[in-house]
């Protein structure tokens, strides 16, 4: 079943390429159908994994150590992957009008070939992320993770704006620095435990000298999630990619990283507990720093990039509380954030599509021209700001209560982090969010935008779908938190 799912994700890739060569743009519907189909299956699996874990194992061909190729669907991977692929499918739908415009700019050659390449890569990227979220051993995880990096790099490189050669190079190298650290950690773990199976990591902390492994893995993930100091690649990459690519990159960054942290780091609790407070502090510093940087942006996409960097680090904070509610909060928040950040990158793409600019100082008064886009922006901002009824309220609430639980149990450092994350960081978030809405949508409509076009149908459908999912999850959180609860219970038992 899971295997079939992975197969269904990867197999159509060559087909998409060949079809794309002849039918061009229309091939996007194939990709959309594939992603939507898998998403529906995953949605159907969510209630299943509340009670049981689905595990499939296959022999690994011609390997000396014969690790198994396994796929695992549990309370962690299914809700996360469901949301991720939901965003991905949305981005595919959105990309239909968007990429047509992108290709019409004239800096990328080839007619149908471009569609064929773009959608093949797009599908392969999504499939790779799906693979890494279902993997049962570290080799498999790393392989899919690496594939995702390469495909996303190609997407940034081939279809980006501006100096895309430079941006994609920076992206490629930095994510590989992160990937390299992760690999070192994985090898270290193998060296210690003698197995690549993630399940075998459970007792790694009982071995001597394993602190560095936990730290190295963490650092690898922190690069991917743009922790302060490691974030230099992020604004350029995100803002100069085409909007559908930015959307899925943003969603991957937060969801795959949080997934990896929730999967790999809890076994290190006994050795990392002592320094985890400092990781929480680092996360808080990033949240505040990137929040203030978001205030400084004029470019809508750079703003979303900094906003994303700021908010993703809430997940790091939650994971390192090392209390059940903190981890649960981190995973829930990554789900909300993935949804919201996907939506916001797409919104900034739609703004570029209709206005031809990303410069907020040239915008204003757009609310009457783009009412649904305004609603989508608000839905994204409310989710991120943690305002009900959006799902962000609930997940941020859980995360912060986890941080407070941790703070009260260990000491002043963690408690001050919890208080500042709950107060100052929330205010900074509200500040840049509402300022942005004000700058883009309110006030006088500039003369240049008087005749602004309508947002195309597929984009609107995407906005409505993503916004609606945030509200549905927010009003009825049990839809996905029951599954997460099952995972957390298993984890902290």
């Amino acid at each position: 079943m899971l295997f079939l799912m992975i197969l269904v994700a990867f197999l159509p890739a060559p087909l998409v390429y060949l079809m794309g060569k002849s039918v061009g743009k229309k091939v996007s519907w194939v990709v959309f159908a594939v992603l939507l189909g898998i998403t529906v299956v995953l949605g159907w699996l969510i209630p299943v994994v509340e009670h049981e874990v689905l595990l499939e194992e296959y022999g690994w061909v011609a390997s000396p150590v014969r690790p198994t190729f396994g796929l695992l669907a549990d309370g962690l991977s299914v809700p996360m992957l469901f949301t991720f692929l939901f965003v991905f499918a949305g981005a595919t739908l959105f990309s239909m009008p968007y990429m047509e415009r992108r290709f019409s700019l004239g800096d990328i050659e080839g007619g149908n070939d471009q569609y064929a390449r773009f959608y093949t890569l797009f599908l392969l990227y999504g499939a790779s992320v799906a693979g890494s979220m279902l993997a049962t051993n570290l080799i498999e995880f790393f392989l899919f993770f690496e594939m995702a990096l390469v495909f996303s790099w190609l997407l940034v490189f081939l279809y980006g704006y501006g100096d895309r050669r430079r941006n994609s190079m920076v992206y490629f190298i930095w994510t590989h620095i992160g990937g390299g650290a992760l690999l070192v950690g994985i090898l270290g773990a193998y060296w210690t435990v003698g197995s690549f199976e993630i399940a075998d990591l459970a007792h790694i902390a009982s071995y001597p000298n394993v602190t560095w492994i936990g730290v190295v893995i963490t650092l690898g993930i922190l690069v991917k999630i743009g922790a302060l100091g490691f974030h230099g690649w992020m604004p350029g990459t995100y803002s100069e990619s085409p909007a559908p690519v930015s959307a899925v990159l943003g969603a991957t960054s937060v969801m795959l990283s949080t997934y990896a942290m929730a999967r790999l780091l809890p076994p290190f609790q006994p050795v990392l507990q002592g320094i985890s407070g400092w990781f929480m502090l680092w996360a808080l510093a990033t949240i505040l720093y990137a929040g203030v940087m978001a205030l400084a942006q004029r470019d809508t996409k750079r703003l979303v990039a900094y906003l994303s960097m700021s908010q993703m680090n809430y997940c790091v904070l939650g994971i390192f509380t090392y209390v059940p509610y903190g981890v649960l909060g981190a995973v829930s928040y990554s789900i909300s954030h993935g949804l919201a950040i996907g939506l916001l990158f797409l919104v900034s793409g739609a703004l570029l599509y209709v206005t031809g600019t990303r410069d907020m100082t040239k915008m204003g008064g757009l609310s009457e021209k783009l009412p649904i886009t305004l609603l989508a922006t608000m839905a994204g901002f409310l989710t991120i700001g943690g305002v009900p009824p959006a799902v962000g309220f609930k997940s941020k609430f859980i995360l912060l209560s986890g941080a407070f639980v941790r703070g009260f149990s260990t000491g002043w450092l963690e408690l001050s982090v919890a208080i500042l994350a709950g107060s100052l960081a929330t205010l900074v978030t509200l500040g840049y969010e509402f300022r942005t809405v004000w700058r883009v949508y309110y006030g006088k409509l500039p003369d240049a935008l008087k005749e602004v076009a309508r947002v195309p149908g597929p984009m609107i459908v995407t906005f409505v779908a993503l916004g609606a999912l945030s509200i549905i999850f927010g009003v009825w959180p049990a839809l996905f938190t029951n599954a997460l609860d099952a995972f957390i219970e298993h984890l902290f038992h």
Binding site: G59, W60, A62, P389, S423, G443
Partner: protein, 727 residues
């Protein structure tokens, strides 16, 4: 009981907030079908909330309320306990729910005329009904989380409605008149949300502390078990006090109390109906409600556990209330915008409510008196302030200016509005026998019952503020309605503009509100002869029922029901009389009879000029906030971005990438081309090497990647796995 059975048994407390929310969702749909359908639909949904709320009134008279009614588990809490979604039906929530629902309905009716023809009505009705639903949810919720959901919901609606005229046309700006700075409506909405947000995050932090020790968010459980969990909190020195202050943060922000009061004057940028409902009658009272709702916890802390720190809750809010009361009254004395005067007046009156609730904690006897005073003044103020705003709306509608300096002589053009506003103003000023007199008197009496030196000091502030209230009331009534017409009006008439009375749909709701508070006032008077008729006695009885039901049995048994003596009552009335005499003297001479010229009086001395400047600049609080929190942060971010992020961090990461790139280029030149790879690439059409080569060349800019190969490679890998799995 199943969900359905619960809903059937207790329809009122659930439908009251659910129906307006459903209505809100339907508004855009109705708007597409027919505009009349939408407008009448809004009225109908608002009315349904009135009916649902009214079904709870019999509980008040029976003396037995259902209490906590749980509907369904919403999520599981960290300690494994379920967070249940339910309503708390007790006298406090029933009274406030009915006040909110009925005033909302009247304002919805008024809106159908006031907002007629506005192009954004879909949005208006959506936000309006969604607001009503959230406000009622906030009041009815049985736990802090659901209250917070309603709390944020009303905040969002308030944001949307303050910034309703989002196009920021010049005539919608407020502040000024120039050279004083002016602000556009969208800015005002944002300011409101962010400033109240400060309070909200403090509240949230307080809630986390509560949860950490109590393990529940449910109000009833919190109060019932407060002896145990508060004792635990008290083991950490200062934590009870910290928790109290944090929990007050939210109410202080939402109810626009010092130091978070500066958003409310700007909130007047929205349509006047919005100011009437949200920024006078209901949302700003949410803070008062929450303070009252949580006060039993601190009552137990102060008088059962004898924790001095628990009393901080009462003392802090009483001081904040009294100071805000004075501060805002001083602003209402000099403001020129009609709605701003009323807004400051609202802030000032909420100060009385907070003061009443706070004074209740000064002594064990005062609790019930203070709680009653707070709730009584809340209800009475909601009625007369909504009338005042709706009247002001009619005036601004007619004159098309927000400044009272542009008005004057309107009495002859708008007699109905004039008389209705005079009645409401008398109530605001606390003239016997209007409702405002009785409810303000109740606050004074609670201070007398509290009987500590601090209580007397706060009482003195309250009396001075009452005198100022009467003075500014006389000022605006005269400048708007009685003085000679301003040049602005003369110009209007000269240009053929006909000043008109408010249409029936607008003045009738005002008249109903006026009739309501007049009835309350008359009942208060009748109460002198027959206690059973006195609204204050009624509310006190209800609060007593509420406390009996929610407090632990042994605490409730000892709940002190004070008997306020005639002498205390007389002193209270005497203080009101002093305030009225003082305020009346100034008001009469400056504005009614105009024996003294206010401007000349100010100009006569340097100290008076300085005081006026100080007041005109809003005690320099607003500007200080802007300099520190807005301009400060904005310039800081630019400083960091320009000098650190853009000059150091991003170039650094670029340099790392560049270095690696150069290294790999060097390797490429040496290894790739001169060794076996070069041979393979050119000679052998190997799939793997081909992909490798092409990926490599992509990086150097030769764009000829063939994805087909890559996809095929993956396919081979996967098929390999399948075969491997089968072996």
């Amino acid at each position: 009981m199943s969900v359905l059975e619960t809903l059937i048994e207790y329809p009122g407390p659930f439908l009251a907030w659910m129906l307006p929310m459903v209505g809100a969702m339907l508004m855009p749909v109705f708007g597409r079908i027919n505009q009349k359908l939408r407008d009448y639909g809004a009225v109908l949904f608002a009315f349904s909330a009135v009916v649902a709320a009214a079904t709870m009134i019999p509980y008040l008279f029976s003396g037995h309320s259902p209490g906590d009614v749980k509907l369904v588990t919403w999520l599981t809490l960290p300690n494994g306990a379920p967070l249940e979604f339910g309503v708390l039906v007790d006298p406090l929530s029933i009274i406030i729910c009915n006040v909110v629902a009925s005033i909302s309905f009247l304002i919805v009716v008024y809106s159908t005329s006031y907002m007629h023809g506005d192009p954004g009505l879909d949005r208006y009705w959506f936000l309006f009904l969604y607001f009503i639903g959230n406000m009622l949810l906030l009041v009815m919720a049985d736990n802090i989380i659901m209250t917070l959901i309603g709390w944020e919901g009303v905040g969002i609606c308030s944001y949307g409605l303050i910034g309703y005229y989002y196009r920021d046309d010049k005539e919608r700006w407020l502040g000024g008149p120039p050279p004083t700075k002016m602000f556009p409506p969208s800015h005002a909405g944002m300011k409101a949300f962010v400033v109240t947000g400060i309070g909200d995050v403090l509240l949230l932090a307080g809630v986390f502390i509560v949860y950490q020790y109590a393990g529940t968010f449910n109000y009833v459980e919190l109060v019932q078990h407060s002896e145990e969990w508060l004792a635990h909190v008290a083991q950490v020195p200062g934590l009870v006090a910290l928790m109290a202050v944090l929990l007050l943060g939210g109410p202080i922000g939402k109810s626009a109390q010092f130091p978070l009061h500066e958003w409310l004057p700007e909130a007047m940028a929205g349509p006047t109906t919005v100011s009437a409902l949200i920024h006078a009658a209901t949302m700003v009272k949410a803070g008062v409600y929450l303070v009252a709702r949580m006060s039993p916890i601190f009552y137990i802390g102060t008088w059962t556990l004898h924790l001095p720190e628990a009393q901080v809750y009462f003392v802090a809010i009483a001081i904040v209330g009294a100071f805000t009361c004075f501060l805002a009254a001083s602003q209402a004395l000099i403001a020129l915008e009609f709605k701003k005067i009323l807004a400051y007046s609202t802030v000032s009156q909420i100060g009385y409510m907070m003061m009443g609730l706070g004074l209740g904690g000064f002594s064990e006897e005062a609790y019930l008196v203070g709680l009653t005073a707070g709730v009584y003044h809340l209800a009475s103020h909601a009625l007369f302030k909504a009338s005042l705003f709706l009247g002001a709306g009619a005036v601004i509608h007619a004159v098309e200016s927000i400044y009272i300096s542009d008005m004057g002589g309107l009495k002859k053009h708008m007699p109905k509005t004039y008389w209705l506003m005079v009645l409401a103003t008398l109530s605001l000023s606390g003239i016997p026998v209007f409702s405002g007199f009785w409810s303000k008197d109740a606050v004074f009496i609670s201070a007398l019952v509290a009987g500590t030196p601090l209580a007397y000091a706060l009482l003195a502030v309250g009396v001075v503020s009452a005198a100022m209230t009467f003075a500014y009331s006389i000022r605006y009534i005269n400048r708007v309605f009685r003085h000679e017409e301003s040049k602005f009006i003369k110009d209007l008439e000269h240009h053929g503009h006909h000043l008109h009375e408010a249409p029936t749909v607008m003045w009738v709701p005002i008249a109903i509100l006026v009739a309501m508070f007049c009835t309350v006032g008359l009942l208060g008077f009748a109460g002198l002869f027959n206690e059973g008729l006195n609204p204050e006695v009624f509310i006190e009885g209800q609060m007593h029922h509420m406390l009996e039901a929610i407090l632990p049995h042994e605490v409730a048994e000892h709940l002190h029901v004070p008997h306020v003596g005639a002498s205390t009552k007389l002193v209270g009335v005497g203080l009101s009389a002093v305030a009225l005499a003082l305020g009346g003297l100034l008001g009469y001479n400056f504005y009614w009879a105009r024996n003294w010229d206010p401007w000349a009086w100010v100009q006569a001395s340097r100290i008076r000029i300085a005081t006026h400047t100080f007041l005109w600049n809003r005690w320099y609080m607003n500007s200080t906030y802007y300099v520190v929190f807005v301009e400060g942060v904005l310039s800081l971010k630019q400083l960091i971005y320009d000098n650190f992020e853009a000059k150091a961090l991003i170039p650094l990461s670029d340099a790392v990438a560049k270095g690696s790139q150069m290294l790999s280029d060097a390797l490429y030149a040496d290894v790739e081309e001169r060794t076996i790879f070069g041979t393979i690439n050119t000679g052998v059409p190997s799939l793997v090497a081909g992909v490798y080569h092409r990926v490599k060349t992509t990086q150097t800019g030769l764009l000829s990647i063939n994805l087909f190969y890559m996809a095929a490679l993956l396919l081979v890998l996967i098929i390999g796995m399948i075969i491997g799995g089968g072996l």
